[in-house]
């Protein structure tokens, strides 16, 4: 991969990595003896390892200029591998946390194995590690294909992909050492946040620059979604994380906002992390891979426009539904609730647009597990949004809030929609970028599909049961007018469901591991594809696609 970069780019990479290593060393020295210092070492080692990889091929010959006439897929390949690696980390911790809740002793008395540390490792590892890397990877693919243009630059995509990995590594290793700014889905401390900001702005400009090169007169819907995801997540990230570090050599900082303003800012961010990270970005993915795989036109362009603007407009209003019955003024809650209901229509319209696109391709859904992944993802998307709008009604939220019902809703969305869609997209993507005829084993894709669906269903039904039971137990009064159940009663009542969830999660994870094997074998063993017309349009003419080296 390094040999495909120009010598100038390799040198530039070394310079940037050198600066990174110096910053890392400075952090390590300034924060010696603290977790901050450990982070310095991590930055230093990360930069040195990549620099070493670049050095190995520093003297390789200049790549041929004809590469500029093909798509730039090397970062995508790396991205696919990293996505699956994060799936293992994120789900591994998810499964651990799930068993931990059923058996609280499963932590071997170490400080870093406390629930409060493992849980954010799961959420950050899975949302930002797995989900975020998948979004970056697929966006590189989609932006090139739908623009019929090569990625802008050869250095920038690597900077974005690998810089982003460093952010997630810093975040997660920090939680294990006790560094956490106590904002859900934004737990990372100030220096990691600043670094993410740099990476994110680069990502945004990369996207815009690639779109500016496009050979198509119009911008495809998938790109609108990816762009809104990048833009709005960036803005939210800035607002939610304005913090004042206590010192330049320590990890502690104080957020500028306080009290109820801070809560509102946090959930404005928190909800839109869900909305623009786990929804808009993923809709971009859906809008490309589903019609592509089904080989059917999108059902309705008009519906796409309507729902895109509906989703984008309404989502930014609804954060307050996470703060029902709190110190947040009631009028803000009413607004959050009403906008959440109005949001349902564009959400369902989008799911319907995807499913109706499959009209005329249902036989493919039956035969092709990859397409079925995407179809099922769209269905779960519809379920998650319906449930979400329902939970946003204050009266319903009074029952569901703080219970496992929220966890059920979360995992309908994340397991059923996000992760299943990622798997579908990756199964579609891997043969294309590695120039393979198909996945190594369609049978294993089929197996993965059923394990994923079974795992999701078991997980979600366990949590629905547990959540509703828990909510009802909390509000049951006896004749004397006092609470019927103590808290520990409700915890004990949860145990069987926690077991169910852990089993469901394990099944899901096994499916994912099968997927990893299949992807690995596809890269190593699957038969090479013949001539594929998969290349950008350039004035200089097309490169012969077959000659794109399939590493």
């Amino acid at each position: 991969m390094v040999a495909a970069l120009t010598v100038g780019t390799r040198v530039l990479a070394l310079v940037i990595l050198g600066i990174g290593a110096i910053v890392g060393l400075a952090m390590a020295v300034a924060g010696a003896g603290q977790a901050f210092g450990v982070h310095g070492w991590i930055v230093l080692i990360y930069c040195l390892v990549i620099a070493w990889r670049v050095m190995l091929q520093l003297d390789a010959p200049e790549p041929s200029p004809s590469r500029l006439r093909s798509y730039y897929d090397d970062p995508i390949k790396m991205g696919v591998v990293l996505t699956m690696a994060w799936a293992i980390v994120g789900m591994g911790f998810g499964v651990w946390v799930a068993y931990l809740l059923a058996y609280p002793d499963l932590r071997y008395d170490a400080a870093w194995t406390g629930f409060g540390r493992l849980r954010p490792v799961h959420t950050t590892g899975i949302i930002f590690g797995f989900g975020g890397t998948a979004l970056i990877t697929t966006s590189f693919h989609v932006m090139q294909r739908t623009s019929r243009a090569r990625l802008a630059g050869e250095f920038t995509p690597w900077f974005v992909l690998l810089g982003y990995q460093l952010f997630v590594i810093l975040a997660i290793s920090g939680y294990l050492m006790g560094i956490n700014q106590s904002k859900e889905y934004a737990e990372a401390e100030w220096y990691a946040d600043l670094w993410l900001l740099v990476v994110w702005i680069t990502y945004f400009t990369l996207y815009i620059r690639t779109l500016a090169r496009r050979a198509e007169p119009h911008i495809y819907v998938a790109n609108w979604y990816y762009l809104s995801f990048i833009l709005i997540v960036g803005v939210l990230h800035i607002f939610n994380n304005v913090a004042l570090p206590v010192s330049w050599s320590g990890s502690r900082s104080y957020i500028l906002w306080s009290g109820v303003q801070d809560a509102m800012m946090q959930w404005w961010y928190g909800h839109n992390a869900v909305a623009f990270f786990l929804t808009s970005g993923f809709l971009g993915m859906l809008y490309y891979y589903l019609p592509k795989r089904a080989a059917r036109p999108i059902y309705s362009y008009r519906l796409s426009i309507l729902s895109f603007w509906g989703i984008t407009f309404f989502y930014v209003w609804v954060g307050s539904h996470h703060l029902h019955y709190t110190a947040l003024p009631q009028w803000v809650q009413t607004l959050g609730m009403t906008f959440s209901i109005m949001l349902l229509v564009p959400s369902w319209a989008t799911a319907a647009n995807a499913l109706l696109t499959l009209n005329g391709a249902w036989h493919k859904v039956r035969d092709d597990a990859t397409l079925r992944f995407m179809m099922v993802a769209a269905i779960f998307y519809g379920m998650a949004t319906f449930e979400g709008s329902f939970l946003a009604i204050r009266g319903v939220n009074a029952l569901s809030h703080y219970t496992d019902w929220t966890i059920a809703h979360v995992h309908v969305g994340t397991l059923g929609w996000n992760a299943i869609l990622i798997f579908g997209a990756i199964y579609a993507l891997v043969p294309v970028i590695w120039r393979r005829e198909r996945m190594w084993s369609p049978r294993l894709v089929e197996w993965h599909f059923w394990l994923a669906v079974a795992g999701t269903v078991i997980y979600v039904f366990s949590m629905w049961n547990s959540g509703i039971l828990q909510g009802l137990m909390w509000r049951t009064y006896n004749d004397a007018g006092t609470l019927q159940y103590s808290f520990i009663d409700t915890v004990m009542a949860m145990h069987p469901y926690y077991m169910g969830r852990a089993v469901g999660g394990t099944i899901y994870m096994i499916g994912m591991l099968i997927g990893c094997v299949n992807i690995w074998m596809t890269i190593r063993k699957a038969p090479e594809a013949g001539y594929l017309r998969d290349m950008p349009k350039t004035p200089a003419g097309d490169a012969d696609d077959r000659r794109v080296p399939a590493e």
Partner: protein, 290 residues
């Protein structure tokens, strides 16, 4: 690429664009979607009229229903308090024997107590108050601080070694760590303690040495015969109930390092009526159940 064609399946036209093979139909937005938009928006507008919703410069629209979540909660709390008061005020004012005499009131106690117990006491004393190592069994009738009404109420009120100014103080000295007894002496006296409840049958020499050590060091608190002293919280060492344990190793640790049981004070956390309910739960409700 530009393509303007008709989809043979649906008969709709495409928009005329193509992206790497993906095209879009120009199907009109289904009527159901417009209906759904109309309905949800109408509902939202209705809510805005009825409930507090839009911010104005210094205030907000209050809504036609005039609801206010703060007042609502305050009202519900007041109603609940009025509800409780029927029985709560009687428990607060009457003494335990009177309450015990009233079957109906005792039924209420039995109903209310388990959740109170579960949320406050269960973590240490266990689900049915049978305790565990370091945490006393409260239904075994072997009391550290006395099992009459006043003693139990007082223990719950002030706690043991707690932050309360009137706290009960429990001090089992660290004879080994404090250098008062050698390890051998500790083993001897421990065997003697075991013999008090028939757990060991030492030879005469050991028994006599143990008895002497006990009389010199322990009897002041545990009594000459080892039956304990409830004014000091010193346990009865002759019965079958053990707070920390009766095996040689645990006994050695108890005598070597001392013990300082800690029970929180509940005076500021629970009302008097609640503390009475818990005392009755421990003294009457639980023993009757078992």
């Amino acid at each position: 690429m530009s393509v303007d064609e008709r989809d043979p399946l649906t008969g709709h036209r495409t928009t005329g664009h193509e992206w790497n093979g993906i095209t879009e139909l120009n199907t009109r937005v289904p009527r159901a979607v417009w209906w759904a938009i109309g309905l949800t928006h109408a509902w939202a507008v209705l809510m805005w009229f009825l409930l507090p919703s839009w911010p104005l410069v210094t205030t907000y629209t209050k809504g036609l229903l005039g609801v206010d979540q703060r007042q609502l909660v305050a009202g519900q709390l007041a109603a609940a308090a009025r509800d409780h008061d029927q029985w709560m005020s009687r428990i607060a004012s009457e003494d335990l024997p009177t309450i015990r005499g009233d079957k109906e009131l005792m039924a209420t106690v039995a109903e209310v107590a388990p959740a109170l117990w579960g949320d406050n006491c269960q973590a240490c004393h266990g689900r049915v108050a049978t305790g565990g190592p370091g945490f006393p069994d409260l239904v075994d009738k072997s009391w550290l601080w006395g099992g009459d009404d006043d003693a139990v109420l007082e223990t719950i009120r002030v706690g043991v070694n707690s932050a309360h100014p009137d706290t009960r103080t429990s001090q089992m000295l660290a004879f080994g760590a404090g250098g008062m007894l050698t390890r051998d002496e500790i083993r001897t006296v421990a065997t003697y303690v075991q013999s008090l409840s028939g757990l060991a049958t030492p030879d005469d020499a050991t028994r006599q040495a143990g008895a002497q050590l006990f009389a010199d060091n322990c009897a002041s608190c545990h009594g000459d015969d080892g039956t304990g002293d409830t004014s000091l919280g010193a346990p009865n060492l002759t019965d079958a109930f053990w707070l920390y344990g009766s095996d040689s190793e645990t006994l050695f640790r108890t005598i070597y390092g001392g013990r300082h049981g800690w029970m929180p004070t509940w005076e500021s956390r629970l009302s008097e009526a609640q503390r009475k309910i818990l005392a009755l739960y421990v003294l009457n409700v639980l023993p009757e159940k078992q």
